[in-house]
Symmetry: C2
Subunit: 193 residues, 2 copies
């Protein structure tokens, strides 16, 4: 439940963000949103055009937060390898999964260009940032010249997204950590390179 000092539209957005993370778009009913927000029947239609409009506001906010967190680490201190390592190992509530990645399994999000757009853009931006880091690392001789920045960036982001799947399947974050450790061991600068 939210503070009574928070506006109704704020409470609706925050409730929707939580429910989308827990249950996805298909699994989130307007009724559940209103209940969690402690808001009255008509309030969703007073502030938003309906569930898709409210969900879009919620997804955009979650996407902005996720991008800011990722960029904070990727633009942080250290060598390219260390920054990719920091991105892969940053503290996560692994068993909750990714609030953006999980939306890709939602048929109604994928069927809507509008709802899919912030999901696609966020993942794309993070991939781009990592691809640049790989290219930087190649210039500095930290990564082999044969690596393709864009491909490695896709592998890095996929390992995180797939790591959530492994962790949730097994009910333990261990599998996420193993996937990250495996990737880092493959990426690590080698004296022979």
């Amino acid at each position: 439940m939210y503070s009574r000092f928070m506006s109704t539209s704020e409470r609706l957005i925050e409730s929707t963000r939580e429910l989308l993370w827990e249950r996805g778009y298909v699994g989130t009913s307007p009724k559940a949103i209103l209940e969690r927000a402690g808001a009255g029947q008509g309030s969703m239609y007073h502030h938003f055009k309906g569930k898709p409009d409210l969900a879009l506001a919620a997804i955009r906010r979650t996407a902005d937060e996720m991008r800011a967190t990722a960029e904070g680490v990727l633009d942080g201190p250290g060598t390219p390898y260390e920054r990719i390592e920091a991105y892969l190992t940053r503290e996560r509530d692994v068993l909750r999964g990714c609030p953006i990645g999980r939306l890709t399994m939602d048929p109604e999000v994928i069927a809507s260009d509008e709802l899919r757009e912030p999901v696609d853009e966020t993942i794309d931006r993070i991939r781009e940032r990592i691809a640049h880091l790989v290219e930087e690392g190649k210039e500095q001789g930290q990564f082999g010249a044969g690596l393709d920045g864009e491909a490695i960036a896709a592998t890095v982001v996929a390992t995180v997204q797939g790591g959530y799947v492994l962790a949730r399947a097994s009910g333990s974050p261990t599998a996420f950590d193993a996937g990250v450790r495996g990737l880092l061991s493959l990426l690590a600068p080698r004296p022979t390179d």
Copy 2:
């Protein structure tokens, strides 16, 4: 729609498999299952104890198929690297995602030990098989001695599962292929190793 020569319980299981893949457990109503199966109101309770029981039969069948397909490739011909490559690049309907992996995003599957069990077991078996292949490859000098088979196996399976997320976010299989290509370039036996 299914052949009228298929039994009602078969039609129920096959319809449930499809709906779970498309919409997940939370998004699949008994009504939708009956409609797709062309089955009457009472037939689900005649053949199954209810939605969880029917879903369990459907998930088990999908899990068995997925494991058989994966093992067919991983136990096939070729060096350990080639068999991992064959697993990563085998033909997939990438934009549909993984019918087993997607269930991990389903709160009701994850909350039920019974429904989660076949999901966990399938992913676990595939990881184990890949971990053995990595160890074999190390013995043959194909992979660096420093690699941890279990960690690499988690990375391989995570890249596939996360590759679906990237592909569905962007609406194109290209991102899946990029992630796989990146991982293969990191795993490839190098003359300097």
